[in-house]
Amino acid sequence: MKRLFVVFLVTCFLIAGSVTLAASKDELIVYHWWTAGGEKEAIDALFEAFLEEHPNAKIVENPVAGGGGGIMRAQIKTMIMAGNPPDTFQITYGHGMISSFASVLQPIDKLIKGYNIPESVYEWGRVNGKMYGVPLNLMQNNCLWYNTDLVEKLGIKMPIESIYDFLVVCSKIKEAGYVPLAVGAGMGQKFWLGTLFEAINSSLPGGGADFLNEYYAGNIVPSESSVFKNTLQVMKTLIDNNLINDDFSALTWDQAGDLMATGKAVFYVMGDWAKGHFTAMGLKPRVDFGYQPFPGSGGTFVGHADCFVLPVGVNKQLAKDWIKFLTTVKAANTFCPIKGAAPFVLDAPLDVYDSITKEILGYFRDENVSKVLSQFGAPPESYLDVFGTTFSKFFNNPVINEDTLAEFDYAYEEVFGF
């Protein structure tokens, strides 16, 4: 009897284990990294909208916070190597990032046929002529956010037209006892310094699209580029003159944003997802905080997107339906307004978007504005970590000499040559 009981128990465990391992066809296992304010609400709403069309389905979501998706991507790699990928997962959209995963992804051209987005956006993400990810939300990276109360109090005239005017204004703010520019690059988020690099670069002569497209293609050696050195020089000016918060190495992007939102700092450079964070805090766009493209970078739109992909070996209809669903106006207009992003899909009604998002979308659709895919999509994935670390070193020891430039050359070779 005792033996029979043990056999029964073991059988129960085995059955329970196999049921857990083999998710049912009505379950969609999704990995994403949207956990901060605004992002979380947006993905929850998106799941809800999907479930309206698939009432029998169940979403098994696995949010992995931290590292701008770096931690989740690392986890996904181990799952793929173990032969156990999720049904779908999030990565940033762009040929560089996607090519790091392309060998384990299914082409989805047939699934997203008819997705009404600009051809240039398709081009951003194609790897060897095929689409592997469905872009969901357009994001602008070279944004300058500001605290409207402080700007008014300090008599700062907005918008600021050039990087030089911006530096002058920052000096005045410093004298008034506030942090001019909030920066957060701590807790494994050093890559945000790369976002600041892009914004500053786009404001300098010779910078922006002309420079960044070649730079992210591996065609510019940092030490041989005067534009690269000039960008470092502006960053050095910000650091040397204490125009950024001294604890940037200890803050995440949202904590740095909070410095601006709570009136400790005046400016903040971050992509437009920061707007979702601010509104989740209860702040009103244009009332409590304002936006302009980073001073002097109005002719360049540095942007990227998030996308979802379909791993090799996933044949579940529900996963394919999810990819198809993301091409709809319903998906875009459910997710993007809450996230603080703009929709790619051209026929999406814009009445659900605030004026800042409409302005950002206006830049993106303006033919006179050059579009550049940011560090999150254009270069190989390793760029984020390698250059995040190198920029972090520079920020802690802002000296521009042969050694510094050799460090950047080494980093560049590590991304594009090694």
Binding site: S100, K190, A250, S382, V386, T389, S392, F395, E407, F418
Partner: protein, 309 residues
């Protein structure tokens, strides 16, 4: 019909029993453990070494054989490897150098039977029960230069001049991490020493007392010298741990600022999973393994010798 044989005591060939020698019986019992350890420890160690000889840069594809190229690059060209190796050894030295004497001191204090020692014991041992994620969050906040409690305390008591950048400084980040590790593990070291001290026969201590030894002398001349096995145990366990630490470093600084707190384990993770250099990352893992073997084996042999003695 004959009665069934009594198999419970049978080790020789007997009719009606499945006969196994005692050695085979023992082997069968430990076989599952041998198989699992063989696969998941030695098998994967060998696999890591094999991977370290490849150029493997795609998550979905295997690597191509490049011999010792990864190792040559590590020692001749890599700008971060040397820093992370030195940082690992620095962190290990500070961690071991403070945790062991501190644990011994706390164990002696507990053994002195002072009033309220139950409370002290709880305080000393509590950090052991904290998860690394919780303690990393706590220490990161404490060491934050602007909102952290340490600098806030210094400001409150009028010592603003002593406030520090802590984890945001290239010079102090590693020290901050070491402090967090020491805090977390001093309870373990205390526990082992306390068990060792409690195990000293009371008559030995009494004899020293009768011979006129003071409390200080009893501890320094009699009890502490008898803690050699406890020291070796703590040393070996902490050494093995500290050479492969990852959690607090990753969670508190991510190896930064710059590479100032980068250690071998974070560098390996970063290289393999953030930079997609799986073969190169495996070569860093192999170096970590060799380093651990070189450092730990002498202590292990010493421990075994002291056990036989």
């Amino acid at each position: 019909m004959s009665a069934p044989a009594d198999c419970s005591t049978t080790f020789a060939l007997t009719e009606g029993c499945i006969v196994l020698s005692k050695k085979i019986q023992i082997l069968l019992f430990i076989l599952p453990a041998i198989v699992l350890v063989g696969i998941f420890v030695y098998g994967f160690t060998a696999y890591t070494f094999q991977a370290s000889l490849t150029r493997w840069r795609d998550v979905g594809l295997g690597g191509s054989f490049v011999g010792l190229e990864n190792y040559i690059r590590l020692f001749t060209r890599d700008r971060v490897f040397k820093t992370s190796l030195i940082n690992t050894l620095k962190l290990t030295s500070i961690f071991i150098g403070v945790t062991i004497p501190l644990g011994l001191l706390l164990a002696v204090l507990l053994d002195l039977k002072i009033k309220g020692r139950g409370v002290f014991r709880l305080i000393f041992l509590l950090p052991l029960s904290f998860s690394f994620v919780a303690s990393a969050a706590m220490w990161t906040w404490m060491f934050s230069p602007n909102i952290g409690s340490i600098n806030a305390f210094l400001r409150v008591i009028g010592l603003e001049a002593l406030t520090q950048p802590w984890i945001t400084s290239e010079k102090q980040a590693l020290i901050c991490i070491a402090i967090a590790y020491i805090w977390q593990f001093s309870g373990f070291s205390t526990l082992v020493y306390y068990a060792g001290i409690s195990g000293v026969p009371p008559e030995i201590s009494e004899a020293a007392k009768i011979d006129g030894a003071t409390t200080f002398q009893r501890y320094t001349r009699v009890i502490i010298p008898m803690q050699k096995p406890a020291t070796l145990t703590v040393l070996m366990i902490l050494l093995m741990y500290s050479l492969r630490v990852f959690d607090l470093v990753w969670l508190m600084t991510g190896g930064g600022p710059g590479t100032s707190s980068e250690i071998l384990a974070t560098f390996m993770y970063r290289t393999a999973f953030n930079r997609n250099r799986f073969g190169y990352g495996a070569s860093i893992g192999t170096i970590m393994f060799i380093l651990s073997v070189i450092i730990v084996i002498p202590f292990f042999l010493k421990l075994r010798r002291s056990e036989y003695e």
